[in-house]
């Protein structure tokens, strides 16, 4: 049996023995850190903590300040205000070569005139680690990233994914308390990218080093992280687990930036629940007062479609406007018969009955009020 597709073989788990000597679990704290260039604010005062061994992703579109945060932690840019602490020690004014963090750069930044082993051993050579120990640790690091036979190759002889792994090994061999990753997968094609995501996740789980990962790719953030920091325009929008970020957004930006969503304007009802265009819905309102203007969001996959409706359940009668096959899921756009100007996006696992659906067909859209998340319509 060969249930794992062949191309996933690089995911083979590293030897546990190897993992122990690499990396460390640092605690990172940003305390009102900001950065401005003249009157332009690249980063508004921002505070958050990353726990020991946590995998935190900073997610945002370009220009949201996510890379600025990473460069401030790495020491390549000076803070305008605030403090950065690792394990309680203030590193705000230290130069990069004296910080207990290492960075995996977006372009890998491999030294083209050094072999893979030479690149990985660079941090040890600089620290004047004894040759025998350095050799052993370089070997260990190359083994961790599955390149034990590639040590003598030069970067130009390696594929994008291999270069990526050399860059990772080069940083980890320095045993950083915190590893910073600056969109490390953005230069890879879709297939290699998926492989490297799973590889990264596995490595992090093995060596338990604190990871701070920057990306603009929502799927990447969701599948890799313990927690996600969503950024927009130099400001933190929400910090939470992928599940909460996805299903319990707290701002309009978060609700629309991560994947598809259905968003409706609503007003909080007296005694709980929300008035929506499709009628009153008994969803949680987190103690919001009557009459407060809110957004109500429901994910397309949390809406069900049925040809007929079971007794005792309620559903909105709709007609199918558009059907799109998208691999594992099929997206269906439906319009409620009662308000044909509106459209709801629904995602259903591809299956036989949905494949028979055609545009114009009549269906019932059903949902559980508990799946509707509500957040304020005024910016916080």
């Amino acid at each position: 049996m060969d249930a794992l597709p062949e191309h996933m073989n690089i995911m083979a788990a590293p030897e546990p023995a190897v993992a122990e000597s690499l990396g460390g679990q640092g605690h990172l704290e940003l305390d009102q850190v900001s950065k401005s260039y003249g009157h332009e604010h690249a980063l508004l005062p921002t505070s958050f903590q990353v726990r020991n061994g946590e995998f935190v992703t900073i997610l945002g579109p370009s220009g949201s300040g996510k890379t600025t945060i990473l460069r401030l932690i790495g020491g390549f840019t000076q803070t305008s205000s605030g403090r950065i602490l690792v394990d309680g020690k203030d590193i705000t004014r230290l130069p990069p070569n004296r910080r207990p963090c290492n960075t995996v750069f977006q372009d890998y930044a491999l030294f083209p005139h050094k072999s893979a082993a030479g690149n990985v051993g660079y941090g040890l050579m600089v620290r004047k680690v004894a040759k025998a120990e350095a050799l052993r640790r370089v070997d260990e690091a190359l083994q961790l990233v599955g390149l034990e036979t590639m040590g003598q190759k030069f970067p130009s002889q390696l594929s994008g994914g291999q270069q990526q792994r050399v860059a990772l090994a080069r940083s980890l061999v320095c045993q950083p308390r915190v590893l910073l990753l600056d969109e490390p997968l953005s230069a890879l094609d879709a297939d290699m990218r998926r492989q490297m995501q799973q590889f990264l996740k596995r490595v992090q789980r093995e060596i338990q080093t604190t990871f701070v990962f920057v990306t603009h790719d929502q799927e990447e953030a969701i599948s890799l992280s313990d927690r996600i920091v969503v950024m927009s325009k130099g400001k933190v929008e929400q910090i939470a687990s992928p599940y909460e970020i996805y299903y319990r957004p707290e701002t309009h930006f978060v609700a629309t930036f991560l994947g598809d969503n259905n968003l409706m304007d609503g007003t909080v009802r007296d005694g709980g629940g929300v008035d929506l265009p499709i009628g009153p819905v008994a969803c949680a309102t987190d103690g919001r007062g009557k009459g407060e203007k809110v957004y109500a969001a429901i994910r397309p996959e949390r809406i069900g479609l049925a040809r007929t409706i079971e007794a005792g359940k309620t559903g909105i009668e709709c007609s199918v406007a558009e059907i799109g096959f998208a691999g594992a899921m099929t997206t269906v756009r439906v319009r409620p018969n009662s308000m044909p100007d509106l459209s709801l996006l629904v995602k259903v696992t591809s299956g036989r009955w949905i494949e028979d659906l055609t545009a114009g067909a009549s269906v019932f859209a059903t949902f559980d009020p508990a799946d509707i998340s509500v957040f304020s319509r005024t910016a916080p």
């Binding site: 130069p95 290492n102 960075t103 750069f105 030294f111 005139h113 660079y122 600089v126 130009s156 940083s171």
Partner: protein, 280 residues
């Protein structure tokens, strides 16, 4: 994508222009070096006597070797000062980088004669240097020695060819992604280590190009030795020149010129070979 007529006419044009502008003078020159001189007249018969003269007469050889040493000295001085200057310009903030580079390579836009006389006005008997030293009582009376010495040639050539060293090194540095020096620092290296381990190895092509440029220009220069070198300015470039301008033995001068060109070509070739073997 092009009709045959225009393709052919273009080819003719393109084949003709380099012939007229480049190949013809070169061929004429090389041919001359195989001609003989009889009674002050150039006779177009094939002879190797000009090359034999170069190989057999130790005075030519001595000047030739001496000149190579002088060129090497000029190249190395340019490198020693040019590399840090190029590096410094490269480290400047982006908005200052190109203005500063422009200041350094400004002399490239100045006429040769202007530059030479600038140096004479500094080094000469009534020059700034003498006046400065006399005024500060470091010497009693103006010294002629600053001018018309081997050192004057080296100093003047080094100054004149300095931009040719800075420019290729700087352009090479510009091609090094800043992320590489940041990575080096990130991995714990000091600025000096980063320079030695990352910047310098990656700049070698620029350094070599600069050395070749300066060496070749120094080798071919016959005016500086004449203007600031005086009697000491008996370099190979002047020997070649004197064959044309003084003794009117063109074939001999041409053969010397061919030797010069061959040395330069060999140099460029050797550098090209080694740089191709490198990974950079």
């Amino acid at each position: 994508m092009m009709n045959p007529v225009s393709r052919i006419s273009l080819f003719v044009l393109v084949a003709l222009v380099p012939s007229v502008f480049v190949l013809l003078p070169t061929i004429a020159f090389v041919a001359n070096s195989f001609f003989a001189v009889e009674n002050g007249q150039i006779v177009p018969t094939f002879t190797l006597s000009n090359y034999a003269a170069f190989l057999q007469q130790p005075e030519y050889w001595g000047v030739f070797v001496n000149t190579l040493g002088l060129c090497l000295q000029v190249s190395i001085i340019c490198l020693v000062f040019g590399l840090p200057v190029a590096w410094f310009i490269w480290r400047l903030p982006e908005r200052n980088r190109y203005p500063m580079l422009f200041v350094v390579i400004l002399p490239l836009f100045m006429s040769y004669v202007v530059k030479l006389f600038a140096f004479r006005s500094i080094l000469g008997l009534n020059g700034f240097l003498n006046q400065l030293l006399v005024a500060s009582h470091l010497i009693d009376k103006p010294q002629m020695a600053f001018l018309f010495s081997r050192d004057a040639i080296v100093l003047t050539q080094a100054s004149m060819f300095f931009p040719y060293m800075v420019l290729p090194i700087f352009l090479n540095l510009e091609r090094i992604p800043h992320s590489l020096t940041q990575a080096s620092s990130d991995l714990g290296a000091s600025a000096g280590m980063t320079f030695r381990e990352v910047v310098l190895p990656l700049t070698m092509p620029g350094v070599v190009a600069g050395l070749v440029f300066v060496f070749i220009m120094s080798l071919g220069d016959y005016i500086t030795p004449q203007m600031v070198g005086g009697m000491m300015g008996h370099t190979f470039g002047r020997v070649v020149w004197s064959q044309f301008g003084v003794t009117f033995n063109w074939p001999l001068g041409a053969s010397f010129g061919v030797v010069l060109v061959l040395v330069c070509a060999a140099l460029v070739g050797a550098v090209g070979m080694t740089s191709r073997q490198q990974r950079i």
